[in-house]
Amino acid sequence: MSLLQEEREIILSNEYVDNFDFDEVEEFVRNASKDLFISHHFAKADKMLVQPRGGFPTYKQQFDLYEFFVESNVDVLPLTIDSNTRLNDYGTAKKMLRLSEENEIDMLNGYPLVNHGYRTTRKMITNFNKPVSLRHGTPDARLLIETAIASGIFEIEGGPITYLLPYSKNFPLDKAFLYWKYVERVCANYSELNEPINRESFGPLTATLVPPSITIVIQLLEMLLALEEGVKSFSVSFSQQGSMNQDIVTGAVIKKLARFYAEEIGCGDAAIHLVYHQWMGAFPMNKDFAEQLINMSTVIASMVGADKIITKTREEATGIPTPQANAKTVADTQYTLRILNGLPNIVDEEEEEILTLEVKAIMEAVFNDPADTLWRKVFNSIKNGVIDVPFSPHIINHNNMITIRDANKNIRIIDRGNVPIPDRCFEYERAQCDLSKDTKGIVNDIIHDIGIMQ
């Protein structure tokens, strides 16, 4: 732990940071209530856990939000971090936090955890004694995660690929891998003291026509990078894609392959969970319709067999949802899960086989990269387009894969770019689509497909 300790000191040499007492933090984690660990809830729960979204600038606002959420019967509390903290700009976050505290207006779009510090935040977390999930979007989350775990937050979302490719144009991807390697090791180390810290990848990516093969490959790779470092509890995730059947197939394949690859690298002892995001694309402006969409997402999540669902609100299209809207979604979702019974057993062998072949082919291409470590193989694979995320703004992403929806709204690959989709699978995907259209028609279709839920 000496190299880690050295890096730690560099990270902590920062005027905005808590003075860390690591002995005390270890003692805290060792004796922390099992109820704070989502890994513990996953192990004992016989229902899907429900987690809303939410983060406010001030301690008081966040505390009130949690009070509200607990009354609304949430299973997992969210802590969404503000965008200044995501860019490691703690100075601006501090200023905006002070302005938010002094005025009625919110100057931050989330909770500036580093500025609040772990001593303060821990009071809130332990007060509610519910598992908290950290939602951020930070490429360099080292300081943030140290602060989170010291606060009693034992689920950390994100990863080097999923938190970078959808959000950033220029942040160096190689650095992101190294920063997240640190995060994984910190999580792994603390996991030895009590229940495991759960890591969760962010499957929705750009939430825009990403084919399931790309989503799954990235989920598996971030999982492997975490398990390599000793993480023992990991959640792969994806968001509603627009076709119920494709979601069910995606869920089946990701569960099987996560288990398969975890065992391949000798980490079969890790617990792997599945998280489903309610629709992450463009929402209808009509709030009644938004509720229909949300309810349908919950039904599909049940058919997918997710362990946790992350909810949206009826106010999604119109701005930042109120706590009331979030609480309503939670209550509605819990009710829906309660009354939804007699789920059918659904297996689409052909679609599962095609998707499995695609994922395995891409994974093989990544593993065959000549680099010495897994993260460098993955880095190279993104750089050379073996992994290509549709609609990523990042300069390293190839953007040469083209996807459209077929008649059943399944996302299909009609141009594979440099991604090694096997010929048989590629032919199958194209065979589902109307390929008679010219580019103008395809562009119009894509515009339509993006607005599919409106």
């Binding site: 144009k169 609609f391 990523s392 953007n399 083209i402 010219d438 103008k440 395809i442 562009v443």
Partner: protein, 137 residues
């Protein structure tokens, strides 16, 4: 013909940009896509580097007003850009606004073609008409 394109400012919405690239490619242009979050200087630098004939800037969140006034002054610092076709599209004002008024304003800022809340393919049709008209002049 060569086109430099991209989304100006802090906007990270990449969809329109990506569809623009697809559509331009399909119409036979050679496209240099600077992507989202591009600064004004980067656009002109890229035009010079690539020898592009057309600069097509997207702006999606109604913030174009802020930086458009600088376009003429900045362009004048570069040489040989007199024949460059300058086009802007997207959401050029907050809310609906008056389309004619908006077009007049952006033409004054130095754009030859102004597409405020115009369908992508319609905008590219206008570009083709403009190129044809200029050829015959």
């Amino acid at each position: 013909m060569k086109v430099v394109t991209g989304v100006v400012g802090n906007d990270i919405h990449v969809v329109a940009n990506r569809l623009m690239e697809l559509s331009l490619n399909a119409r036979g242009y050679e496209v240099f896509n600077l992507g989202v979050n591009t600064h004004l200087e980067e656009f002109f630098d890229a035009v010079v580097e690539t020898g592009a004939n057309i600069l097509l800037i997207s702006s999606l969140n109604g913030e174009a007003e802020g930086w458009s006034r600088e376009v003429k002054a900045l362009k004048s610092k570069y040489k040989n850009l007199d024949d460059l076709i300058m086009m802007i599209g997207g959401n050029l004002a907050v809310g609906r606004g008056d389309a004619e008024e908006i077009e007049r304003k952006y033409k004054n800022y130095g754009f030859d073609l102004v597409c405020h809340q115009i369908d992508l393919n319609t905008g590219l049709d206008w570009l083709e008409e403009f190129i044809e008209k200029r050829k015959t002049q």
